[in-house]
């Protein structure tokens, strides 16, 4: 969606790097009060290239805050892990040299060790501390690595390739409609093609400049809808639903076809950022809520609800390829399905009796509230996936 793509600043998560090593000193810290009436403690855990949290202790289950201090001359990532399987209870990323950052968690029964990752070095795991009994604490999650994500990303890449092939044919049909002056058919074929593109939504960044050419809005363009730089689906929608002639729109349609072909042909050499796999599971619908359910990106066809439906399909495809990784790690997956299903069925229920789509401003207040509520809840349920699937070093 061209102008809708998040700026780079929204992607602060650094590609994981480095190796580690370290030494550690455990310095006892003063107890710090915590809410909840449970025992709490706070201790300084020092890490360096010589060791990772040596000598640290746990008084028992309950809330603990560790002040993690990086005594090394380089940045580190410090995790508190279950040494049996590497599952992470808590992490401090990008801990600069000489700095301290709190790490807070509810310690339950189980085994705990600090693991340090410094640049260009293997991970170092410090001594294990075991807490007995049957106390429930903050759960640990087995980290997902880049290797884990390669397979899903390849499957997803193939799925996109197939979708782009379909899209190339659909846009060719659309352009032929326009050239032939059959604008009524062009409207129907526009929707078909546009939804195919929207279904591929997870790959916005991966499409590079093609996305702005194929699906850009007027945002950021001088002159708005009259800007000569505006191309793509939305430009064509504006013309088709604002009485522009076949002659006026032929160039627009032909440009769309060539841009789609360009993307299709370039796609085999384009890569999907592994980090994006998880991010897109909520970002697609974030955009849908911001631009489609608001009606903002309706340039006349009144089909933004159909776009949301296509965005749901695209989200589901990502969830499918990530499912083997998510199933053992995310207890909220069932709720994700519940709310995506509810949102999809509400969109279907919103259609006119003849099956035509309805613009959001023509929805009944009650139905619009239900749709917006379901989208909001689906997003809440989806949001943890990005953190869980962030590729991590182990």
């Amino acid at each position: 969606m061209g102008a809708n793509v998040r700026p780079a600043a929204f992607h602060p998560r650094l590609a994981p790097k480095l190796a580690a090593s370290v030494a550690a000193l455990a310095v006892a810290g003063g107890a710090v009060a915590c809410g909840g009436g449970t025992p709490a403690s706070s201790a300084v855990v020092s890490v360096s290239n010589g060791g990772c949290g040596a000598g640290w202790k746990l008084a028992g289950p309950g809330w603990h805050t560790f002040q993690v201090y990086n005594a090394a001359a380089e940045g580190a990532e410090v995790d508190l892990v279950d040494p049996a399987n590497g599952a992470i209870y808590a992490e401090v990323e990008a801990l600069g040299p000489g700095t301290t950052s709190p790490m807070r968690l509810n310690v339950g029964s189980g085994s705990y060790a600090f693991r340090c990752l410094f640049e260009d070095a293997d991970a170092i795991t410090g001594p294990t501390v075991t807490v007995g009994g049957h106390a429930r604490g903050t759960p640990a999650i087995v980290p997902i690595t880049r290797n884990d994500l390669f397979g899903p990303a390849r499957t997803y890449h193939d799925w996109i390739a197939a979708g782009l092939g379909t899209l190339a044919g659909q846009t060719a049909t659309l352009a032929a409609d326009v050239r032939g002056g059959n604008l009524a058919k062009a409207k129907a074929d526009w929707l078909t093609a546009h939804l195919t593109y929207e279904r591929l939504g997870a790959a916005y960044d991966a499409f590079g400049d093609f996305d702005g050419q194929i699906n850009g809005t007027t945002a950021g363009l001088d002159g708005g809808v009259s800007s000569p730089d505006w191309t793509g689906f939305y430009r064509l929608e504006y013309g088709l639903w604002h009485g522009q002639s076949a002659r006026q729109l032929t160039g627009v349609a032909n440009t769309l076809v060539s841009n789609v072909r360009g993307l299709r042909d370039a796609w085999p050499t384009m890569e999907i950022d592994l980090l994006d796999m998880g991010l897109r599971t909520h970002e697609i619908l974030e955009n849908a809520l911001q631009f489609q359910l608001s009606g903002q990106d309706d340039y006349g066809s009144g089909t933004t609800l159909a776009t949301v439906g296509a965005n749901i399909d695209g989200t589901r495809e990502l969830l499918t390829v990530l499912h083997p990784l998510l199933a053992p790690r995310y207890a909220g997956l069932a709720a994700v399905t519940t709310w995506l299903d509810r949102l999809a069925s509400l969109l279907e229920a919103a259609k006119r009796p003849d099956g035509a789509w309805i613009g959001v401003s023509d929805l009944s207040t009650s139905l619009r509230e239900q749709i917006d509520a379901a989208a909001g809840q689906a997003l809440e349920e989806l949001s943890p996936i990005a953190a869980i699937t962030e590729p991590r070093r182990t």
Binding site: C34, G35, G36, W63, I88, Y89, A90, E91, P102, R104, L105, N106, T138, P139, A140, I141, P143, Y330, W339, R342, T365, S366, E369, Q370, D372, A373, A374, G376, Q377, L379, E380, S383, P384, A386, A387, I388, E390, R392
Partner: protein
Amino acid sequence: MPDPADPAQTGSVPSDSGSADSGPAGTGTPGAAEPAGTPRRRAFLLGGLGAGVAGAVAGAAGGYAYRATRPAPASQQALEDAEAGALPPVPFHGKYQAGILPPAARQTAVISFNATADGRGELIGLFRTVTDRARFLTAGGTPPPVGIGGAPSDSGTLGPAVVPDGLTVTLGVGSTLFDERYGLSARLPARLTPMRTFPDDNLDPAQTGGDLVLQLSAGHPDTVMHALRDIARHTRGGMQAIWRMDGFTSPARPAGTVPRNQLGFMDGISNPDPASQAQMDKLVWIQPGTAGEPAWTAGGSYFVVRLIRMLVEFWDRVDITEQENMIGRRRATGYPLDSNAIHATPDFAHDPSGAVIPLTSHIRLANPRTAQSGDSRILRRGYNYDRGIDDVGNLDIGLLFTSFQQDLKRQFEAVQTRLIGEPLVDYISPFGGGYFLALPGVRDGSDYLGRSLLA
């Protein structure tokens, strides 16, 4: 702003108080910007001219009888604590919701929602979730970390630890919740209806009504906003916000008096005494066995919200005598026009023709202080609002009026009915709000808001 000791109380709309130091006598050209209600305004003007006032004590020089005779009210102390960021937690559990009786907080937000929960089970889940969040937010504490399992559990806008800051969370239900969706029609409170449209109202349907209402009040705007974000985040599928109004109260100026509304008059000088259980049982709380009320409502209270625009540009072109006659009090001091003390009870009986306090003044219509009017008193909580500018460049500011009462018709509607056509209506415009029933309180850690309704 309520005065615990003054049994009088004013009605609904903007409210009280008056002045001595009248300053410039207005523009003297009242015909300049008259709206459609001109006849009413002219009639009022004529009536008001006779109301000269004795005892115009200069505010600064004369001091305040109020100050001399009583300690600063609880509301003043609360405002000072808020200034210092020192408001302690307000206990959440109790027979009644904790946000109803306290003085108007420094900051509040009223948000109306429609329920989107699918069926009774999800509705119960919604009420339980609101309860759980309210329990945490009002007590304060450190939000739980999520490790690598998701985004942070808290917005962080109050820092790493949530401070209570006197937060109260009050939940109410509107009549539309009792339709067929949740099988609650048999439990509709006897007096709960959609908000009536009064003759001087200009209601916008988009800013009126709602299945649910939430009022969040605290010492500071960040605390209120933090609570709203938190509750909304946890309830996205269950309810959808439809309108919202933020409100604030100002420091009493001069200190020791009563905060002012945006007409410049002190607001809420007289109110029932929240410390008097007898008064609250008679005027605020629905009692077990209150005529016709379902048993589940006991301990609840009818909650009226009115969004009232103040046409302050017009108001500021009105001379002080006319302003004071419309209200019935001095602007500078808050004194009733027949008195030299802010909390004096106006003696309408000795002014039957309205020579001193006009018969059409706000305080006289709202509370005529007759034997018959006593049981129509309401627990009034007014807040100022500011929503920017309107289409002609005027300030979009006014009053977020709230009141709690045992009986909508006997109290709020009776007061509002007496106010129909008052001269003040030319300067104010009610445009939204709703009637709700504030639920009974949450007894303990296993109870939840609405249990008696939903269980």
